[in-house]
């Protein structure tokens, strides 16, 4: 049975094909606004948004198995940085600030929580999003006159789509580089056995915090880019816990153990979600529940794991047939 050598830094032919296919796919996706600026583009923005969020989430949570429900916290902070800072700074500068703030917040959370075991981390990150939402609500109602902010800026849906697509390409590039680096190898060891990881000399806390910073920063940047699309943002929208759950579900359905796994979950789930919310708006919770059941009972390693399983069986059959 052949296994890939993770610690080897040589580019393999299969990876080269993957890289070329990815570049082609991103190039093709970039042409969408040239053909359609209506419903298809709107759906495209949603799909690319969840691709960015789920893939960056899986960069950290996939190998470490720490389930973060803080995506909404980072996303909302990014939105509020743009909403609150538009009169002072330009939009691109605010996106950069959002990225930095997301990374700093992730580092602080990481320092405080990544020494905790998985369950406590999940609860903490869920609570954190709620805490930030309540703090923002309190700050706006005590210091301002309304609970929301207007984000009035001349940015088209096509621009938002291209910006998100560029961020998605960046996330895939980071993920690919990490997978080929010592940090990627360290993450695989941590995910297998953290005690062994510490005993072979890995500073596990530093590695996890670094990855969590990347994930948090990307989520904040995504929130910042999408703020103009909402026009009016308020804490219940920006820090919605539903976003955190959807990101986790999409990544797990696709397969969080592979860089390209989450996108396999994002596309079908986003399409189904769009259909359900349009036709059966009161049944969204049911769909979430069914998705959870599907992950737990049918595809614990996601579509990527399922595909790999059957590909392995096919190869076994091909190699041993007479």
């Amino acid at each position: 049975m052949k296994h890939r050598e993770n610690y080897s830094l040589n580019i393999k032919r299969r990876e080269l094909y993957g890289l070329i296919a990815s570049i082609f796919a991103f190039g093709l996706a970039a042409t969408l606004p040239l053909f359609n600026t209506g419903y298809a583009l709107s759906l495209g923005v949603t799909i690319v948004m969840y691709t960015v969020l789920s893939t960056s989430w899986a960069l950290f949570s996939g190998p470490t198995h720490y389930i973060s429900l803080a995506t909404a916290a980072f996303f909302g902070i990014g939105m509020y940085i743009v909403g609150g800072g538009l009169e002072i700074y330009s939009f691109p500068i605010l996106i950069a600030i959002a990225g930095c703030v997301g990374a700093i917040l992730a580092a602080l959370i990481g320092l405080a929580t990544l020494r905790l075991s998985g369950v406590y981390f999940v609860i903490f990150t869920l609570g954190l999003s709620e805490l930030i939402r309540q703090l923002v609500t309190w700050a706006q109602t005590t210091m301002g006159t309304s609970s929301g902010l207007y984000v009035l800026i001349d940015v088209t849906e096509s621009q938002i789509y291209w910006e998100l697509l560029a961020i998605a390409a960046f996330v895939f590039l980071i993920g690919w580089c990490i997978n080929r680096s010592r940090i990627g190898f360290a993450l695989k060891i941590i995910g297998n056995d953290e005690k062994v990881a510490r005993h072979v000399g890995i500073n596990t806390a530093a590695v996890k915090i670094f990855l969590f910073m990347i994930s948090g920063s990307i989520a904040s940047i995504t929130g910042a880019i999408l703020a103009p699309r909402w026009t009016y943002i308020e804490p219940t929208i920006a820090f919605s816990p539903m976003l955190s759950f959807l990101v986790v579900i999409m990544a797990l359905i696709g397969g969080a153990h592979r860089l390209w796994g989450p996108i396999l979950g994002v596309i079908p789930f986003a399409l189904c979600w769009d259909f359900i919310t349009a036709k059966f708006p009161n049944q969204t919770a049911l769909m979430l529940g069914l998705a959870f059941l599907l992950i737990v009972y049918a595809i614990p390693h996601g579509f990527a794991g399922l595909g790999e399983k059957y590909w392995g069986k096919f190869k076994h059959w091909r190699d041993f047939r007479v």
């Binding site: 052949k2 080897s8 060891i189 005993h199």
Partner: protein, 244 residues
Amino acid sequence: MSNSVALSFQNVTKRFGGLTAVDNVNFDIRDNEVFGLIGPNGSGKTTVLDLVSGLLRLSSGKIISYDKKISGKTSAQIARRGVSRTFQLVRMLPTLNVKENIASGGVFGFRRYRRKELDRKVNYMMSQVGLTGKGMLPVTMLTYIDQKRVELARALMSDPKIILLDEWLAGLNPTEMKIGINLISGIRYEGRTVVVVEHHMEAIRSLCDRCIVMNSGQKIAEGKPNEVLNDEQVIAAYLGVDNA
């Protein structure tokens, strides 16, 4: 054998709530020595290894390695100072293959290899421990002795100055035991200090230069294996006072 001290335990105590697992223990392990830690189950042997490797923090006292205090450091810091270990229950990295499991020991620790140098070192370690030709196998498909070999190779990958073997020979049949003893003997000839926790007295006799015996967290004897194993207090600790 050199006379410099590889590990010095000074008034080392470890308490778990009301239980004192290691009680004011003092001893030195010399450089390039094979040193045994023996004693009945629950006597504190593995706790001593956990304290050296940074898995547990000392309640009081200190551990010095080559004139530098290592107690209070993290496991990763201690590993980077040249102390590596195996575990009482084999700990594999199940999603990685044999080569990757072994390579994991040589990328972040005391000695760090890169790319081709790493590959060469992994192949060398596989030949040393008897795993040649099994590099691409998933570790979950290996026999118990081969999993132990992988763990030993991983611990040796970073060229540690000190290696801690926690019941590495446990669970092996007599043939495998002979292979295991030869493997451990080979490590000391590479100039390393070897600390073994074992229950097999024949292994202790054939491997160790010196050893200590622990009982209820205390050191009850220290010296050469043949002397120590004939000590009345040691016999009483192993067999019970009435049967001694």
